[in-house]
Symmetry: C2
Amino acid sequence: MTRLADIGEFEAIQRILASRVPGPGVAVGPGDDAAVLRPTEGMRVAATTDAFVEGVHYRPGDLTDLELGARLAAANLSDLAACAATPRWGLISMGVRAETPIATLVDRDRGLAQALRAHGASLVGGNLAKVQGPEWMSLTLIGECAPDRVWTRLGARPGDLIAVTGYPGRAAAGLAMITANGRAAAGAEWWTPLYLAYAAPASRVEFARALAATHAVHAAIDVSDGLAADLGHLCDASEVGVELREADWPDDPVMVRAATERGVDATRWAWGPSDDYELLLALPAEARERAVEAARAAGTPLTILGACTQLETLVWVGRDGSRRELPRAGYDHFR
Amino acid sequence: MTRLADIGEFEAIQRILASRVPGPGVAVGPGDDAAVLRPTEGMRVAATTDAFVEGVHYRPGDLTDLELGARLAAANLSDLAACAATPRWGLISMGVRAETPIATLVDRDRGLAQALRAHGASLVGGNLAKVQGPEWMSLTLIGECAPDRVWTRLGARPGDLIAVTGYPGRAAAGLAMITANGRAAAGAEWWTPLYLAYAAPASRVEFARALAATHAVHAAIDVSDGLAADLGHLCDASEVGVELREADWPDDPVMVRAATERGVDATRWAWGPSDDYELLLALPAEARERAVEAARAAGTPLTILGACTQLETLVWVGRDGSRRELPRAGYDHFR
């Protein structure tokens, strides 16, 4: 197996670039000092960056190299979806050990590129650095958005509905099931949807763009730390609280079955640390139908979980009418 | 001393952001899912990324945290200068150990931000990830360039002059002197210019932009691997060779003195691996005066080293008329 140490940096870059497919809007692509891109007239530029570190964001062997690349793309695509931007160009910076096979690098790059291409974006630049410790990948994704359709975390108002795409907590559940059973088991098991939520998260880019065109959203954030934590971020930025109703919570029998099997409380996955790369939205009550319709058209599951309040607290209302404040604990790298 | 582990990811980010100064063209700055930027109508977008890894690109203690941040900015600014782009917006992705003091992070960020601000750019986004091994920083820098003024490595023609800014090899010389004498000695010594070339490289952004406006350049590349290696990249892309004249080589008595003291051949620094972040330019003979004038106006040292040839070789012509082919060896991470 050919390793990076065998062929060196420049030949490795050539082999990675050989598998790339040119994307639109690129005047000067990879291989020069900088990429030169053709932005769309009248649009704003949106930019985000997210990184995965070996042993921190992923355990070697839990994901294939293609999946690892695609998941890093999803993390960044989700950030652009949360501001209703259209992904266009990516730059990938990697720290790699000299003994890593070149095929591994090519697969990670292909996974990234394929996931970006599915949403109209391409890789236009990058950097390859040697590391002696854990490997890492850092993607910067550049997109475009219409000036009058940009979503931020700020703007939710008391009375706004809170909606979430997908099934929060599935990524955490999927990771727990892979850890317990190994990824070899994932493909053919009843918990495949959980495995996929972790290994190949959907990116809500097209849904976000369609919904932004209807001006239905007051504020948005992506769920990458955990639902309670990210809902807390949105509430803090918008200076509102949220009241959520257990009765409106999305049914997720697969996750409940996994929780039973693992002996954990399913709400720990649903509320706690889980990087689902789903969207949390605050929308005025009159926009409900537009949001539901846009979700249906995009094939995106969407649930209205509750509503914003004036009190700056996160309150959970049980089926029995009981009320309790939610902990905002999400994933924090350093604590 | 407060460490990251003491305050956690979100408080750390707040403290870093508190020291930032907002830059121009930013509709949504740091702290949201993505930054939203206002590009200049009619301009193209240029983007590059470069990373530093602890123990690979820098040894802890050789640079202050401010210098480390500024040097990473310089690496990226140089890439944009090499395509004659105007730097505008940066995104910084960092891998940091939990025991690192927050003051260290704030200083690195300030070093980055100050160096970018000196050339009109600001930090608009980032990511903070935990590492257990060596730390790393990866910057993506976004700029703008006029469609008819973009430089690439491709376009040098036989007969073009080859010019270089600054004094190639000084960064390698400075690093060698810091390694031998410690950085404490650098400030007040005769080799301060070498120390500065390594610790605080000039960015040739304004010179590049002024020169691009005169349409004087056929091809450009920045010197980040070493002069012979990067000249080789430019020649390969343009399908030309180069003949360089020893008699035209810039006098650099400080570097020669350091080479004598260290017992090395000064040409090893000048030609070999050295990340000077200077510019190599190929320009038509009739543009010589324009280039010299632009360099004078920008206060940028500029030397014409030789000329492009049809044969695709790098030839060194000694003062005595002797000819030899230059090795293209530059810095390769993995070999």
